[in-house]
């Protein structure tokens, strides 16, 4: 797999949705490719930032 194909699997890799073989392949690629390692770090960080969005207080009882 080339870097572009690896990048397109970042999302499923993050969610652990890939099979063991694909997961190992990406892990190995990331370990050896500086650019993909850095891109994956940014990709993962952005998901973590998104998850920081605060919840709002529920204004009233709906039931």
């Amino acid at each position: 797999m080339n870097c572009k194909e690896i990048y397109s699997l970042f999302s499923e890799y993050y969610d652990q949705e890939l099979n063991a073989e694909a997961r190992a392949l990406i892990k190995e690629h990331i370990a050896n490719c500086q650019n993909c390692r850095s891109e994956y770090k940014i990709f993962r960080k952005c998901i973590k930032i998104l998850k920081k969005m605060k919840l709002a207080d529920v204004p009233r009882d709906y039931i």
């Binding site: 999302s11 969610d15 919840l55 709002a56 709906y62 039931i63």
Partner: protein, 201 residues
């Protein structure tokens, strides 16, 4: 589904209001926040939350337990949100430009920290609301803010799991691009966003 939940569903279907309360009172926070994340507006989220539970009450007899109640409610909420967007689009005359401005707290002993946190919150919400198309915004919220599984998201949106995977990836990449590459001029212009995209979504 556990015994208590199936019992509450059966009783709710036969018109037991206490059972309905027991079944759905825990979901209020989830549904309101889900709709607030989608709309970015408290009043609209409030209105749509009320409508979601009204429909849930009326249509509970259609619930077949093929999905979880959480997924079923999510599906009702998404459909209401989509309908509201279509209606708003029809009523929109195209002349209004939305300008959003961050509220900077002034009375804290650690203002720098508060401002940074407020900026981040504002930026996440603003990017979601104005720089991510609706289809991808819904996917991001379902996956990363409401923690639905790929299968559940596919059920809610009526997609295949394959398409769901692709769209989750595309939505996250889009969020990464707008957040990192700064299509939004929020930081450059006194936190006031006047970018073109704001009028096009």
């Amino acid at each position: 589904m556990n015994q208590t939940e199936s019992d509450l569903i059966a009783r709710s279907k036969s018109g037991d209001k206490d059972a309905f309360n027991g079944l759905f009172s825990q979901s209020q926070n989830y549904i309101f926040n889900f709709l607030f994340q989608l709309t970015g507006d408290v009043a609209e989220a409030d209105d749509l939350t009320q409508e979601t539970f009204l429909i849930a009450y009326r249509k509970l007899s259609d619930f077949r337990s093929e999905s979880s109640l959480r997924t079923w409610l999510g599906k009702i909420a998404v459909n209401l949100f989509r309908r509201r967007c279509r209606r708003n689009k029809r009523n929109h005359n195209g002349e209004t430009v939305n300008f959003e401005k961050i509220k900077i707290p002034s009375d804290d002993y650690s203002p720098e920290r508060i401002i940074i946190k407020a900026e981040l919150q504002w930026c996440i919400r603003h990017n979601l609301q104005y720089h991510i198309p609706k289809k991808f915004r819904i996917v991001l919220i379902l996956r990363d803010l409401q923690n639905f599984s790929y299968r559940e998201i596919a059920d809610i949106l009526g997609w295949s799991v394959g398409l769901t995977k692709t769209n989750i990836y595309r939505a996250r990449k889009m969020f990464r691009d707008v957040f990192i590459n700064g299509k939004c001029r929020a930081f450059a212009d006194d936190f006031c966003c006047t970018c073109r995209e704001i009028t096009q979504l």
